[in-house]
């Protein structure tokens, strides 16, 4: 039943830009943010809230820009290398961050990401400062498309990746490693007494979540054609958490539903008002107070809110 729903949803997404071409950019960006929010949601399962994941989002996007500047123009290679870069940054940061919990984990992630942000904004000669760096149109399987065509190709590739990565992450969450992750939240002591290394469980989750945020950032970089330090600002991290919660952290589809919901609402709202943050803020508070399982909770049958 769920598989049918998911297939249907993906098909609808696939034909939407054909009907309304302006949606293509919005949807690509939504999928990109969905990946990053999924990364945040993975950590939320362990009760860990990161207000710093925009750093990995930005790191991979900068990665693409640097690699392109260094002369790599193949889309696949750029994507893989930049996601690996995101994962690598995640492994380094995660190796000491996973020792912390609760507010301390949140704050340290914030601190690390703000150091990164400030460096991106200030090292003008390396990163172009607040102007950022361009992300040129790459070659896809050796073919160089015109920009509008590439954006279309990018959308369908992202859609395909969403399904592929989504299934993999769901598999991960269903594995003992994924269950152990939720167990960190509920009872770390028992986990230790089962002989399961908590730090390894968390580090694996952290690297996966960084790679997911990185994947999102790389796609966003391609879609926007530019990467700027604001990608890594703390409010961007806050937005990722917001999307994850809005979608409900119960399952993989939640993050993407949350991102789609928010991006579509955004494009609808900007035509009538410029008070977008006001709307998002109110929505967020209403969802947390009255629908603690997020938007996804409306569809899920049996999920336990871990919040």
């Amino acid at each position: 039943m769920r598989t049918i729903f998911a297939t249907l949803a993906v098909l609808i997404l696939a034909v939407l830009p054909v009907a309304a071409p302006w949606l293509q950019f919005v949807l690509t960006l939504a999928i990109a943010k969905g990946f990053a929010a999924l990364g945040v949601a993975v950590l939320l399962r362990a009760g860990l809230i990161s207000i710093g994941h925009a750093m990995f989002f930005a790191a991979s996007a900068y990665g693409v820009a640097f690699l392109a500047r260094a002369g790599i123009h193949d889309f696949g290679l750029l994507l893989i290398l930049s996601v690996l870069a995101g994962a690598l940054v995640g492994a380094v940061a995660g190796s000491f961050l996973v020792r912390y919990r609760a507010i301390f984990f949140a704050m340290l992630n914030l601190a690390v990401s703000m150091v990164f942000y400030a460096l991106c904004a200030k090292l003008y000669s390396v990163t172009g400062g607040t102007d950022g760096m361009p992300v040129p149109v790459p070659a896809v399987f050796g073919i160089v498309f015109a920009e509008p065509v590439f954006k279309n190709v990018l959308f369908y590739l992202s859609l395909g990746l969403m399904v592929l990565v989504g299934v993999s992450v769901q598999r991960y969450l269903n594995s003992p490693l994924g269950h152990a992750l939720s167990a960190v939240h509920t009872n770390e002591i028992r986990l230790e007494y089962l002989g399961i290394p908590v730090w390894a469980v968390l580090l694996i989750a952290y690297v996966i979540s960084a790679a997911l945020a990185g994947l999102g950032g790389a796609i966003a970089g391609f879609a926007i054609g530019r990467v700027v330090p604001d990608f890594a600002f703390w409010t961007a991290s806050g937005h990722l958490v917001l999307i994850a919660v809005l979608g409900g952290i119960g399952g993989v589809p939640g993050a993407f539903i949350g991102a789609l919901f928010l991006e579509l609402l955004h494009s609808a709202a900007v035509t009538v008002t410029d008070s977008w943050n006001l709307i998002v803020g109110i929505t967020l508070i209403v969802v947390i107070m009255f629908m603690p399982q997020g938007v996804y909770g409306l569809f899920a049958r049996r999920e336990v809110s871990s919040l």
Partner: protein
């Protein structure tokens, strides 16, 4: 006599100047069912905390099969075949009963199983069998936080059993369990221990349970071992009767 499985030598522990253990030495041998009794606050749980690496003694050593484990983490000690059931059940409360069991079973499997789905028919059957043993078969699909306290206690013990330990440390297994269920639980536990060849050490308040099931009793009082021996010997000791059992 054979070499003990677990041996504590010359333990000293103090909290804020109060001595929880003052030069205590304990040994537990293969196949034993050793009960530790003593008044509240006498340091019995502390002993379990030390033997499982949760806290470190100020001095003294803990040996498992003759190897020093005093400075190992709870995780490392669990990996060496020592499981623990807690006085206050330590469960994954937002997860289903069966998931608690399957995660414990998966913990003893190899690294490769970490990337396969947690739920497999074989693992589910194994979990069910253990739940059946402690009388929780009907609760398998409930969220564990919704279980009544007594059942949570049983699940905690089942989780410890799922680790297939050689040595099981039980902290008041029958507290929180209703009087009616106490002996059936102990019968099931004893048969599981015998069947699987598990040695056990248990801290207990219920003297009837101790008298009936322990193969040896150790009386702990004010950081010292006051007496030890067969249950009938210990319970006939006048000092023990007065201080611990509470009858003159």
């Amino acid at each position: 006599m054979t070499r003990p499985i677990l041996e504590a030598k010359g333990l000293h522990v103090a909290f804020n100047g109060v001595k929880a253990a003052d030069d205590v030495s304990i040994a537990i041998h293969d196949g034993e069912f050793l009960a530790i009794i003593g008044p509240n606050g006498s340091g019995k749980t502390t002993l379990l905390n030390i033997c499982t690496g949760y806290i470190r003694p100020r001095s003294g050593r803990v040996l498992l099969d003759g190897h020093d484990i005093t400075r190992l983490s709870p995780r490392a000690i669990a990996r060496r075949g020592v499981a623990r059931a807690f006085q206050i059940p330590q469960l994954f409360s937002t997860q289903r009963v069966i998931d608690n069991m399957m995660l414990a079973l998966a913990a003893t499997d190899g690294l490769w199983s970490a990337v396969r789905p947690l739920e497999s028919p074989a693992r589910r059957d194994e979990a069910k069998a253990l739940l059946d043993l402690v009388g929780l078969a009907g609760d398998a699909d409930r969220i564990s936080s919704t279980l009544p306290e007594g059942h949570r206690k049983l699940l905690d013990i089942a989780v410890a059993l799922a680790l297939k330990p050689r040595l099981l440390l039980l902290d008041e297994p029958t507290s929180g369990v209703s009087a009616l269920e106490r002996f059936p639980l102990m019968e099931a536990l004893m048969s599981a221990l015998r069947q699987r060849g598990i040695t056990a050490l248990f801290v207990e308040h219920d003297m009837d349970v101790v008298a009936r099931y322990a193969s040896r009793v150790l009386v702990w009082n004010a950081g010292n071992i006051m007496a030890q021996g067969r249950p009938d010997e210990v319970f006939s000791n006048a000092q023990v009767r007065q201080r611990v059992v509470g009858v003159a």
